[in-house]
Symmetry: C2
Subunit: 264 residues, 2 copies
């Protein structure tokens, strides 16, 4: 049974910790700089924690780095355990972030493509996991761990992973922000956000049958200037929303223009 230390106690650490325990990995310790979140995750998993990198369990087989991109480099530089496997989970950061440790033989990346919230269970089984290692041996080791957790494991290098992460920002973070704007707008009409849920659900369910390109509907793809003008008028007092409206409408029109002209 592999012994794992989890560095971080946020959303990824929480879900990864649970998933590893479910597959009989021994989580021997949680590290977090914040005592509050360290305590919480450690008690959730029933394992010890530390808030001091000097007290890190040095006997583990694998160290999973699940901290914010902004502090990852700093945390890596403060740890010096040469014989273990070191793995970070950041979509946007390259493998080479471990290179400062010249004596590290096995390191890599384990990037689960999902949005995690502490309060929501996720099925790890279906989550695509993108793995990379500094050697064939390291990559194979990471791949095997990933395959115990998920059916969808892919090799990808740091450049590919950066692009996957960017596409996830569009498909998740930006999409969620559009939902926030829709919520503000629907409230000004006197209704609550949940009147939009069947529409949102169907927008996503369509993707199982149609590519998003083929599923596109709305005034912009039809270039219905009359409706577009009316909508911009409604957004007169919300300049940031009307900018988003214009930029996205223009982009929809341009992406579909060629096809529409061909069809006519």
């Amino acid at each position: 049974m592999k012994r794992v230390v989890i560095i971080g106690a946020g959303n990824v650490a929480t879900h990864l910790g649970r998933a590893l325990q479910n597959k009989n990995f021994v989580v021997s310790q949680i590290f977090s700089r914040t005592e509050n979140s360290a305590t919480q995750l450690a008690s959730d998993l029933g394992v010890p924690f530390t808030t001091n990198l000097q007290s890190l369990d040095r006997e583990a087989d694998i160290y999973f780095y699940c901290v914010n991109d902004a502090v990852l480099c700093d945390v890596i530089n403060k740890i010096d355990i040469p014989d273990a496997l070191h793995v970070h989970t950041a979509g946007s950061l390259p493998l080479s972030i471990f290179e400062s440790h010249l004596q590290y033989r096995r390191y890599g990346v384990f990037y689960p493509l999902q949005t995690f919230s502490k309060t929501r269970k996720v099925n790890f089984d279906e989550i695509p996991i993108f793995v990379e290692g500094n050697s064939l041996e390291a990559e194979e080791e990471i791949r095997q761990i990933a395959q115990t957790l998920s059916k969808r494991v892919f090799s990808s290098d740091s450049e590919q992973r950066k692009k996957i992460h960017l596409s996830a920002v569009f498909a998740c973070n930006f999409v969620n922000h559009l939902f926030s704007i829709a919520e503000e707008l629907v409230k000004t009409a006197g209704y609550s956000f949940d009147i939009l849920l069947p529409l949102i659900t169907e927008t996503v369910n369509k993707l199982n049958e149609l590519s998003p390109y083929d599923a596109q509907t709305g005034p912009a793809v039809r270039n219905d200037q009359n409706i577009i003008r009316q909508h911009l008028l409604l957004l007169e007092n919300k300049p940031e929303f009307s900018e988003i409206y214009s930029v996205l409408s223009e982009s929809i029109y341009r992406m579909h223009k060629k096809d529409i002209q061909t069809r006519e």
Copy 2:
């Protein structure tokens, strides 16, 4: 049993026609300017069709207008059947569009908030329907029809409905366009769009527990300039995508700024 004529043969006409037949309305005729789509829907519903407004069945109780916003006014002006109930289904167009017919006594709006594709079944039961009538009597009549089809029927005036329609453009059309962009990006990394589906599904499933405002994650809400710069670099050759990236990131940051400062 009420006798209904459906004007239009597109996505809304198709789904509304089926739903009305299921609830024992008699669809007596389909009208469409395009013979092809008229034939298709008429044979699907097993009812007669016409492509000539002069041959419209004048004996129906209800006329449902399910045509494009851009041609609705023109179609309304070409029909002159004073004693029936006339109902349009456009979110963005006001009740007053019927006012040119001074002798019409009963007219109104029946706006189902959903994205319809001909090839996908929808459960009308859950679709919010927004109704409006030119009199209490007309509105009550439209409400009763809506309630036979859906559990979620709301009264709304033309101003409210315009705002609901605008919010739907953000939550559906714009969201779908972001999926199209994500698809293009993920393909440049060598993967197909379906690696994003678990992420997209979870982004939407979260909305059952969290408001989109509270669910927001990603580099923009953390104001992680390092990642944002990297992403913009990746989009260097796609100026329209990098404009969308900047405008949305800026808007996420501004919407959450106050709360983040309060928390710090």
